[in-house]
């Protein structure tokens, strides 16, 4: 996080999700349930220069993330880092990590999967590969790849 970018829109308390792969900032907002006014400042920068190319950045005032939300971000933007800001300072910085075991975050794309029927179960996946991202449904054992995963985050 360079000084210059922070100047664009410094936030007092909240989070900065940095190093989002280019073009995926809107997806990140969507999976965090930010699709309309949430009553606090949200800013998004797309296609900014970074050390290794281009990236997107999302900043949300007065918002903190639960473990589950971090996992969701990891599935959409595995390269992202989440900075927790308190009183204009980064107090914590974590890299998101693709979980080995994904419960209740993604819906299986297989229409014939038992998890897509009216049954009292939560969709469950195992991570087969992190790069490229491939996850396997614990029930129907079908694989899902990154673009399908993004479309099926619950």
């Amino acid at each position: 996080m360079t000084e210059q970018i922070l100047k664009v829109q410094k936030i007092k308390n909240g989070i900065v999700i940095d190093h989002i792969p280019c073009g995926l900032a809107l997806k990140v907002l969507k999976i965090l349930g930010i699709e309309r006014d949430i009553g606090s400042t949200v800013s998004m920068v797309m296609h900014v220069k970074s050390k290794y190319g281009w990236k997107d950045i999302v900043k949300i005032e007065d918002r903190f993330l639960e473990e589950k939300e971090l996992d969701k971000i990891a599935l959409v933007a595995p390269t992202a880092t989440v900075n927790i800001i308190q009183n204009y300072k980064v107090v914590k910085k974590h890299r998101v990590k693709v979980p080995e075991h994904i419960i209740g975050i993604v819906k299986c794309t297989n229409p014939k999967c038992i998890t897509n029927q009216r049954e009292p179960i939560t969709p469950e996946f195992y991570t087969v590969s992190k790069d490229p991202l491939i996850i396997k449904c614990r029930y129907c054992e079908r694989d899902m790849e990154a673009d399908e995963i993004i479309e099926n985050i619950i």
């Binding site: 014939k112 038992i114 029930y139 129907c140």
Partner: protein
């Protein structure tokens, strides 16, 4: 190591465990042939839950349980089930679990056996879930090969037909490769084995559209049905239906000891004249379904 185990996916069974299953199945053969009597599973109840018809598999489990002196309850007709009345599968399983010691399930939805295993206290055996897993079929296929040749490693195994939609053939391919067989995949290009399955194999298989190219090298020819209902597009089906037909004439070029297998029912991919040739093993293969399932039942119920 088997008591209380669910048999849901073939990938959860190690080669060593397979050997154990085959060892027990071998001992079950005289009982399956009624040359010996057994009351090993006397007093045990098997719930045979067939939410979609599969006469062969259902009868094979019934026979296996009966020959070991156990009882079978269940249904074969999906419209008669509570599922038709809107009950969840989870509820049906919890109820049946109270009535039985082991549950066998066949269901049109993929992953339903895993769900059943999650909800049942007793062991669950997957007898096919949609286009998903069918581990007892895979085990009886392997048992057939193993009994014939004594080993699987280094055998040349050809799989022919629908290698794309038939997921049972995917599981078989995976295990054969794991056990060291050399694989030959014979299919029209429309029905080639998916790349993600091939990627998981230990050694690269040989792929071809023409059976004639590879037949002389094969020890095992495993024939699968090209099923109309698997095709999303009926035009695709018409293009490939009836493309392969195994005949005695074709088999003249096969190794003398080569065997022909098929999960049955066959339609016209193997001509009836092949039945009388020394290559045919599909009926014996079907018979092996009984001792293999006897072995599984005895093992998961912990009586041996």
């Amino acid at each position: 190591m088997f008591r209380g185990r669910d048999i849901v996916s073939i990938k959860e069974i190690t080669p060593k465990e397979m050997d154990k299953i085959f060892e027990v199945a071998e001992e079950m053969i005289p009982i399956a042939q009624s040359a010996e009597r057994s009351s090993l599973l006397q007093g045990y109840v098997l719930a045979n839950l067939f939410f979609e018809p599969s006469t062969r598999t259902r009868l094979s489990f019934e026979s296996a349980m009966s020959k070991l002196g156990g009882h079978v309850i269940g249904f074969a007709n999906p419209s008669a089930t509570s599922l038709a009345k809107g009950e969840t599968l989870a509820d049906t399983i919890r109820m049946v679990d109270e009535y039985s010691d082991v549950i066998v399930i066949r269901h049109p939805y993929e992953g339903s056996a895993r769900l059943a295993a999650d909800f049942a206290k007793h062991p669950v055996i997957n007898a096919g879930d949609g286009a998903g897993q069918h581990p007892t079929q895979t085990l009886l296929d392997l048992f057939t090969v193993k009994r014939e040749f004594g080993h699987i490693k280094d055998l040349n195994v050809g799989l022919i037909g629908d290698l794309k939609y038939g997921r049972t053939v995917h599981s078989l391919t995976y295990v054969l490769s794991n056990l060291g067989a050399n694989l030959y995949l014979i299919s029209p290009s429309l029905l080639r084995m998916p790349k993600h399955i091939i990627r998981e194999l230990k050694t690269k298989p040989l792929e071809t559209e023409k059976i004639e190219n590879v037949l002389p090298e094969l020890d095992v020819l495993y024939v699968t049905r090209i099923q109309k209902e698997r095709f999303p597009d009926p035009n695709e089906y018409r293009k490939v239906a009836g493309i392969y037909r195994i005949t005695p004439k074709l088999l003249e070029n096969a190794k003398r000891h080569a065997i022909v297998m098929h999960p049955l029912p066959r339609v016209d991919e193997i001509s009836p004249e092949v039945d009388a040739t020394p290559h045919a093993r599909y009926f014996l293969q079907a018979f092996y379904g009984v001792p293999v399932r006897m072995a599984l039942l005895a093992l998961v119920l912990g009586v041996i």
